[in-house]
Symmetry: C2
Subunit: 598 residues, 2 copies
């Protein structure tokens, strides 16, 4: 059976020593969450994930969800109790506005909690994760009445929420959505259509489910411009705002899928269901993107989370499993064989996962802090800069952390040999679960296009330039620091490759957009590598300083960071050159093949 | 539902135009198999795979195998009938010695058939694939009596075979094997122990199963040197060689696993089972390696096979699924959206899979021809050179084709978006099935160590030097050929990286073996890339010549090869530099982390 231990230690290092969490005490919510409180919160959250959620993970996979003839759905044993405990402890509303019953703590903490929960039980976490998106969408776009009606229930976890976008014929291309909304004359709409792949669309965790649905008001134009967002609860609230009449929304079937069996992936049928417009008509996509962007960061966390728990279990196995002898001679000659951790290739596998994970966590927490600043800072310039960075890095985080998170989960499974392929050790479930993160909330190819086609050129490249300048500033400030040379030199090379790739895009993609499309995935990964390399350089700087200042008994912790960072620089950063070469090869060869030749 | 079309077209191009199949007409079996016969055989085999095996693939996954209380195992519906048809058509003995009822055709054909079968139904193919290994082991190491008793039954497919190596506490490190063999006084041995992960260990396809079992004769030394190979059939042959008394061998349980559900992965219990020594006592590992090496090529074929069928289905989907518009403007303005094949990133995904697959198939068929030469040539030098090449490339093929085959299967799944994650389209099954190829028959880390630690230095690097010289000779012969410049230039760069990496190993691994271990996986992939690049250069040369000679209406076929080859050179070959950088970074950072820090 797999185990999990929440990496609070690393998170606290990031907040305290690397990302300067304490600088943000002036932001609302941060004053209430000094580092000792953060430590207590993480410790409690970690314990819940380790002791309650993780043991349910295998159950969820084996049992899956069950749809009954009446369309109701039962979640796996234990999911409901765990959800109740979680909601009652106030975790759902950790970062929500106190005006709606939330705790008002930094979003950053909620984002970190999301990683922990996903490591422990990704399928379970999706029930509460999707509610976060609904809370954001209603908070930003809902009417006062809608806020009053739905937010307290969502924030307390009494009800959950969903996102209804995809239809059988369209996922990426939402402009093709057919679901119709007809004004009912009383301010509500009658919604009719079919939505598919709706995570947590139906379940037994809560007495009501608040669906946010993209649909086209009768007569609205074709394409994305004709889409509006509606709120359509499973049960219509009665006059006191409690569960009332059943709405005409039903789960038609559950998908049989590769993983996340504990989460109900539903076909949802809207048969003249009652819904209310959220925000302005025909501005639905914009409102939905509020949920999508947050959900994309959540998916980034899932990619990291699965690689983290898979790594932890692989490390335990590598310390315990004995096969063969160290190449340099038996490490434990009295035993029949050495632990496989003596083998350099096993170490290479483990360290490449972990070196990635720690940089990924740094980048993720860095981006979460940007979200807090973007939403809460009193300073307009700070808000703008943070919003720029968040927009630029959302596709990078989603795409890179889920792509690499999956690869790394597979590599962790590999450490187990044949034992990784059988269900018993739980590694193959991690792989199956991790796989979805590359796909949902915008498949990673879409993330890459969003980065190259939208986020990069936005506002004359302002966000990108700010990031390049920040990294270049760091490099310049430390180029003569010998202790940091193993970090600064590869980062400089990576940044140069990124600059060249960006220049190549500027010179070649305007006149020929296919060159952008052909470069997009490589560009996203190149961008990610440089950002992760930058995170390692900062972590190395912090670790070096702590060691110089006297590490207070934590020398081993900081030395480990320096070793992992060097590993990343030596073994992962060299990929930037290959990405640049591929980007510069352009679209000609790609586009030369006629469709029938595929 | 997925479909499959056997790539006979590409195979015939390889045999006819690239690898000079007709030059080998002097080898036994080749004279009986001129290209028109090969074409007929491939066409018939392809039809069987497409029409009989492929439709059973999903059934096999959903139903899996069932173990009954008496230890018997039922295979999925249709498996038994398909097996009977296959055996009766003589496919099992396609390349086996006519003296034992085989057809005596080239091994190369059987290897190609193996790819087709694995694409169509990998789990099914393993039942007959493992019999091939048993045939080889008994042919090379068995007594005349054993040959007479077992080979006709195995070659005809009347019985199947298995390999029994792994035990709960040891897979890679066979020296730890505990299974005991005690002389029974009548020439037989009583075998006692437990074997796990035994593919096709028990099933209902045939009335008997011939187990080849590694065990330690009582009193034999510890470690691999004390291991002997035994043949232990499920039913002991009676005096007429037919199924007689039940042996004390039973399937204790079936593993619940990630994929290949249609194949029974058994825990096998030997309770004083009767077995007979195959070959000399305490030479069991050598004899087992006869099976292992063949099995490793079979696994290489599986990696390719799954990526091939996954590619084919992704290509169909990309032509049919409509989402969004071409970046350069609507390709089909009258339709609601363009096929996703217009998107450069979708093309990139598909072409990278296919460009890899075609080179992988070339390398695989090239290696299979080496096996034919090594076993059948009249010329001792030719035999030696072919055996060298086969030994060198077996770990490369197994490791690279299964690693990349899995990655590519995942990428093909990605083309389907959310539809790739649900079971309906069959893509997620391909991924789950492909995953095992990286693990079994020696996990890929072991392949890499075999390459770096054993195959490379063997005989003073003779095999490696021969390959380097062959590629360098090709480069030299074509360095001024302008038409081939897009192929020769990147191949030259890749070869240079491989030379540098090899030199680095020679200079650094002797004194410090951890440097070899730390470099091994990257070296294996670097080696693979250069070999695949060399295959593309040869395919490009052949295609260019055919186009110059008048391609006889097949211009599009040859143009497609040139485009795919350019793609490989532009997009895949740049990875050689990253591998070299990682290799040269050495083991120091890897070994610096203490065990408790993982």
């Amino acid at each position: 059976m797999p185990t999990y231990s929440a990496p609070s230690d690393h998170v606290l290092f990031l907040l305290r020593d690397v990302l300067g969490y304490e600088r943000y005490a002036n932001l609302p919510g941060f004053a209430d969450a000094p580092l000792d409180l953060v430590e207590a919160v993480l410790s409690e959250a970690g314990r819940f994930c380790e002791e309650v959620l993780q043991p349910l993970n295998r159950t969820g996979d084996v049992q899956g969800c069950t749809r009954h003839d009446d369309g109701s759905v039962t979640t796996p044993d234990g999911f409901k109790d765990a959800y109740r405990t979680y909601a009652e402890a106030g975790w759902v509303g950790l970062a929500a506005d106190p005006a709606h019953g939330g705790q008002g703590l930094p979003y950053t903490l909620a984002a970190i909690l999301n990683e922990f929960v996903s490591s422990a039980n990704m399928a379970w976490g999706m029930y509460t994760g999707l509610a976060q998106g609904a809370i954001s969408a209603i908070t930003l776009h809902g009417s006062d009445e809608q806020k009053a009606l739905y937010l307290p229930k969502l924030v307390s976890g009494e009800w959950t929420g969903t996102m209804n976008l995809t239809e059988p014929h369209c996922g990426t291309d939402l402009g093709l959505i057919k679901t119709k909304a007809v004004p009912a004359g009383d301010g509500s709409y009658a919604i009719t259509g079919q939505k598919i792949f709706i995570s947590a669309g139906e379940h037994d965790l809560t007495p009501n489910i608040v669906h946010l649905v993209l649909a086209r008001i009768e007569g609205a134009p074709d394409g994305t411009k004709g889409l509006s967002l509606f709120v359509a609860p499973k049960f219509l609230p009665d006059e006191s705002g409690e569960v009332g009449e059943r709405n005409a929304i039903s789960c038609g079937s559950l998908e049989t899928k590769m993983g996340i069996h504990g989460n109900a992936t539903c076909v949802m049928n809207y048969d003249g269901a009652t819904g209310w417009l959220v925000g302005e008509p025909e501005k639905g996509l914009r409102a939905m993107f509020t949920m999508m962007n947050e959900a994309r960061l959540g998916v980034a966390a899932q990619g990291l989370a699965l690689a983290e728990v898979a790594y932890q279990n692989a490390a335990v196995y590598a310390r315990e499993r004995r096969q063969g002898r160290a190449l340099s001679g038996a490490a434990e000659p009295d035993a029949a064989a050495d632990p496989i951790l003596v083998h350099p290739d096993v170490r290479r596998t483990l360290m490449s996962i972990r070196a990635f994970n720690e940089a990924a966590r740094a980048l993720f927490v860095w981006a979460a802090l940007k979200a807090d600043i973007a939403h809460k800072s009193q300073d307009a310039d700070d808000r703008l800069a943070a919003d720029d960075a968040l927009g630029l890095f959302t596709p990078v985080l989603k795409g890179v952390l889920s792509d690499k998170g999956f690869e790394n989960t597979v590599q962790a499974q590999q450490v187990f040999g044949g034992h990784g392929y059988i269900a018993e050790h739980g590694m193959e479930q991690f792989v199956r679960d991790a796989r979805i993160a590359m796909i949902y909330e915008g498949a990673n190819g879409i993330q890459a296009l969003d980065l190259v086609g939208r986020k990069l050129p936005k506002d004359g490249g302002r966000a990108m330039n700010a990031f390049f300048n920040e990294v270049a500033g760091f490099v310049k400030a430390h180029e003569k620091d010998e202790a940091l040379a193993p970090f600064v030199a590869p980062l400089t090379a990576g940044l140069e490759h990124l600059r060249q790739a960006t220049m190549w895009l500027m010179n070649n993609a305007m006149a020929k957009p296919d060159n952008a499309g052909a470069a997009s995935t490589d560009y996203m990964h190149l961008f990610g590598l440089v950002a992760l390399g930058y995170m390692w350089a900062q972590m190395a700087k912090a670790a070096t300083e702590k060691l110089a200042d006297g590490a207070d008994g934590r020398e081993a912790f900081f030395e480990t960071r320096l070793t992992l960072g060097r590993f990343f620089m030596e073994r992962t950063m060299p990929e930037t050159a290959a990405h640049l070469a591929r980007i510069s090869s352009g679209a000609d060869t790609l586009m030369a093949l006629p469709a029938e030749a595929f």
